[in-house]
Subunit: 221 residues, 2 copies
Amino acid sequence: MPPSKTAEEPYHIAVCLFPGFQLLDVCGPLDVLNILNYTYPLRLTFLSTTLDPVTTQLNPNSPFEQRFVVNGTYSNPPGGIKAILVPGGGGTRNPPPELIDYLRREGAAPSLEFLLSVCTGSALLAQAGLLDGKKATSNKRAFEWVKSQGPKVEWVQRARWVVDGSTWTSSGVSAGIDMALGWISSTCGEDVATTIADQIEHEWHRDASWDPFADLYAEKK
Amino acid sequence: MPPSKTAEEPYHIAVCLFPGFQLLDVCGPLDVLNILNYTYPLRLTFLSTTLDPVTTQLNPNSPFEQRFVVNGTYSNPPGGIKAILVPGGGGTRNPPPELIDYLRREGAAPSLEFLLSVCTGSALLAQAGLLDGKKATSNKRAFEWVKSQGPKVEWVQRARWVVDGSTWTSSGVSAGIDMALGWISSTCGEDVATTIADQIEHEWHRDASWDPFADLYAEKK
């Protein structure tokens, strides 16, 4: 059951954090979901290896970082998670093993309804074997590296986002906003998604095949 | 002096947080600045009334919230802040008095080089008297309320963002990304801004007068 206005329990979404996650990969979709939450009750768990806040920086001494409070761990996650969102970022090059284990375990659980990734987050889904035999996309600048992480995946180079069953993967960073709106359109209705896009004054690319960055980075290779 | 590749000290930017800030107002510009920070050293201070983490939710019991770690207070901010960014969000309707006092005190300090706001953050700048006699813009859905907060401001209804001297104000939420890129273009060069926009796969609206949401919400009034 997707998010519902009348469900007895809020719809539980988990976001997987790790040091060096890309800020907008997380906060684009979550800003959209914050607004959905006005009318469709949601619950959010930020997961990490420990309950310590997680930084966007790989350098622990960086004077320019953002740190998020987390409320669940990969080894002991809360129950009832219906959707998992995995962001990308520099930290995907050396992800915590606990995160990949969690994805392998919970990403394939029958109770899970949706698996979503933004940017190079799809490399982590691929490492966990969750994209084998599926269509998926990723960041276009890092596309060759991401492909190398999932040789059994049917990688789609030109796509703002790709849906294969219950698995949603987006292109780089800001594409996560368009995918999140697409997911809301699919689960709650296009009018709901359009209203949210207008509220955040976002020019929603609702065509999942729109992708000027596929050519841009193919040329630069 | 704007951000520089060779400055001895990182360029110090403060972001003003308060309960009920809009997530993307903060994280759109900061994602862009995280990338600028690879080549132009930056320093970030998240300011709040206390050093407790700050939530995006007005309801303290909401099961769907994001909480940010802060590292400075309005009553005792660190020195050397060169630019202040003020986000909008539901919390602007009842902002902490310490935040308005801080803006009144530091927003007009000669050492401050840039004052930036996203969305209804400009209502807080207006309340602090920092926009009097200046051109500014804001969220288009909340425009009439924002105008009421600054009767001496020259409000510009149709604008993705507005620059008046060293003061930059953007339209709602996602417009903050376009404004941040515009600010980087102005201070560090258009090539730097274009490269960042491409890296986050963002279709940058580089024309500050682009604003389909001005008409949309004018019609809905």
